[in-house]
């Protein structure tokens, strides 16, 4: 936020309050007056969509907890009770269940937008890294939530994921026993996952606050990637972006609603409607769609420890992205080679997701390996090299000039 606050309390009580807690000024400065680049496109609305989805998940989650029982003998039945007996229980659960998927759709678009427009580059490295941490916590939260209905996929997903930690040399077995509170995934595991699943969204809300704080120090990146040079490049957040984000949220809710009302189980796995059985693994176990690319990477490596390391590195490498990309031009719009490679990378991520959904047959495993090599090659080889080798296109002199040039062309 540049310049002094524009908030001037008018009433006596407003003035009295402002001198004691300037929260209204804070809200006005950051949610209304905040100078925002005037050329943000719809890819920039996913931040707001994500904030709304977090609120939706918390509200529907709090309601579900009023009817759910976290016990191995009762959990599955209590979820069915929510579906059949509780007033609007089906709606709350389908909103929550599909809300998780919508949350991930939005976060993936948000992340790829950041990658395409170089939003992770200086001075926004910390903003990006906080975002990666949010993503990690989201994954942990969603995983633990998926365990709660105690279906077959809940149980075996929990078993496989917690077993990842048994790959840690020497202490792996102690770590898994500690995580489980027993010798296998069982009632203590379900109870602690329930506790943490309730806690973590509030932790997320706190970190989201830091994310927005880190955003409001340099301000938003924008499709040109060039920095704001003055007031002519910006518009106040309200009403311009409250309206644009609001419209995007409504459209996103229509998309969300289509799943909730017309295909509530489309994104889930039918096997999770079978109660958990610790004695029998389903023939084909796979995680929820949003983990599939990482699952494919895990399976590509025929060694337990290295497979697990590769999977965790494939996410943690994002923390280093600001330093792996050597190009000083932020926006992919002005980077002819990167622009093509970006879409290849995006396709590789989707293809990895497809491989992750298939059984571990040799052909799929081989393709998984090729794609895994490309995934890491993108970060470790291609990004540093492209920045050095490619000649970027000329950048516009300012955001304002770029906008005016476009509208002149349109005429």
């Amino acid at each position: 936020m540049s310049g002094p606050s524009k908030y001037q309390p008018t009433s006596a009580i407003g003035k009295w309050f402002h001198e004691r807690l300037p929260i209204v000024a804070f809200a006005k400065d950051h949610a209304m007056d905040f100078p925002t680049p005037k050329n943000l496109n719809y890819w920039w609305t996913f931040g707001g969509i994500l904030a709304v989805m977090l609120v939706v998940q918390i509200i529907t989650g709090v309601v579900l907890v009023m009817h759910y029982t976290p016990h191995v003998d009762l959990a599955f039945a209590s979820v069915e009770h929510i579906m059949r007996d509780v007033n609007y229980g089906w709606l709350m659960r389908y909103l929550h269940m599909n809300g998780a998927s919508m949350f991930f759709i939005a976060v993936y678009i948000h992340m790829f937008r950041g990658m395409y427009y170089g939003s992770y580059k200086a001075p926004r490295e910390v903003l990006w890294m906080i975002g990666v941490i949010i993503y990690l916590i989201m994954m942990a939260t969603a995983f633990m939530g998926y365990v709660l209905p105690w279906g077959q996929m809940s149980f075996w997903g929990a078993k496989v994921i917690t077993n990842l930690f048994s790959a840690i040399p020497f202490v792996g077995d102690y770590v898994t026993t500690w995580l489980w509170g027993g010798y296998s995934v069982d009632n203590p595991t379900l109870n602690r996952f329930f506790s943490l699943h309730y806690l973590l969204p509030f932790v997320l809300a706190g970190i989201v606050f830091l994310h927005i704080w880190a955003l409001h120090v340099p301000g938003n990146n924008n499709p040109t990637g060039i920095s704001v040079k003055g007031p002519q490049d910006t518009v106040p957040f309200h009403p311009y972006y409250t309206m644009k984000d609001g419209f995007a949220i409504v459209v996103f809710f229509i998309f969300y609603g289509l799943f909730v009302f017309y295909g509530p189980n489309y994104l889930g796995d039918a096997v999770n409607y079978v109660p958990a059985n610790p004695l029998s693994t389903p023939a084909h176990i796979k995680p929820e769609w949003y983990y599939l690319p990482f699952y494919a990477i895990l399976r590509s490596i025929p060694d337990k420890l290295f497979g697990v390391l590769a999977m965790f590195s494939s996410i943690l490498i994002l923390l280093f992205l600001p330093w792996l990309d050597t190009s000083r031009v932020r926006s992919g719009k002005y980077r002819p080679i990167f622009k093509l490679e970006f879409w290849v990378f995006a396709a590789v991520c989707v293809a990895l997701g497809f491989i992750g959904s298939r059984p571990p047959d040799p052909t799929y495993v081989m393709w998984g390996q090729i794609l895994t090599v490309y995934y890491f090659g993108h970060f470790i080889i291609l990004l540093p090299l492209m920045g050095l080798l490619e000649t970027p296109k000329p950048l516009p002199s300012s955001i304002s000039d770029d906008v005016l040039a476009k509208s002149a062309m349109a005429k």
Binding site: V160, T177, W178, Y183, S184, R192, I285, G307, V365
Partner: protein, 215 residues
């Protein structure tokens, strides 16, 4: 900036006066610094000690540790049959092997094994993973082991995989893990895929010729 340069005014404040005294006595490190560090260290150790119960409470509780052992009557398991029992929350395979499975397991050279260690809780640690060392009391026909894939804990499928004994169209013995494709031979030893170890043999003993106690 050294303390002496800060004498802007003729009359030093109380803080400045105190700083002059301690700086004169002990140069840079004074008693107060020591007290700060010592207090901080005590607080840090206290915090770490307090954290421990909060971390340790997640380990298996007394009810989980008070494990009932289970008894199994092997006479009800026919040759070629495999039953899955639950012990300590985990599935256990009890397999009555046929001669062909035992012969196939014995024919394997130690050098071909991915994990050459027996992984048998009933014998000394680190012994070779020979077929004999995978069972207890020389009763080769009964292979008893955890039905927990050593990769990520799924239950492997019996009578399947590349290391089963093939007779015509049927496979006997051998296990295949449906999760990530690990393959175990007719003695439950890992032969192919991401799993690092042979299927673990739990502690068990023969109570009579046909009865065992696991745990």
């Amino acid at each position: 900036m050294s303390k002496r340069e800060s004498f802007g005014s003729i009359c030093p404040t109380f803080d400045e006066g105190e700083a002059i005294v301690s700086a004169a006595v002990e140069n840079d490190v004074n008693r107060r610094d020591f007290l700060f560090l010592a207090t901080g260290a005590v607080a840090g150790v206290g915090a770490a000690l307090t954290a421990w119960p909060f971390i340790y409470q997640m380990n298996p509780d007394a009810a989980v540790l008070a494990l009932a052992s289970i008894e199994v009557d092997l006479s009800s398991v026919a040759e070629g049959q495999e039953v899955i029992l639950k012990w300590r929350g985990n599935p256990v395979f009890v397999r009555h092997r046929g001669q062909a499975e035992i012969d196939a397991a014995k024919a394997v050279k130690m050098g071909d094994l991915k994990d050459p260690v027996a992984r048998n809780a009933n014998i000394k640690d680190g012994l070779d993973a020979t077929d004999e060392n995978r069972v207890v009391g020389g009763k080769e026909q009964f292979l008893i082991m955890m039905a927990v894939c050593t990769h990520l804990g799924c239950v492997p499928l019996g009578d399947s995989g590349e290391f089963a004994v093939v007779q015509g169209n049927t496979k006997t013995g051998g296990w295949f893990c449906p999760c990530h494709g690990s393959q175990y031979d007719t003695a439950g030893r890992i032969r192919k895929g991401p799993a690092p170890q042979n299927l673990a043999v739990p502690p068990y003993k023969y109570l009579s010729d046909t009865k065992i106690q696991i745990g």
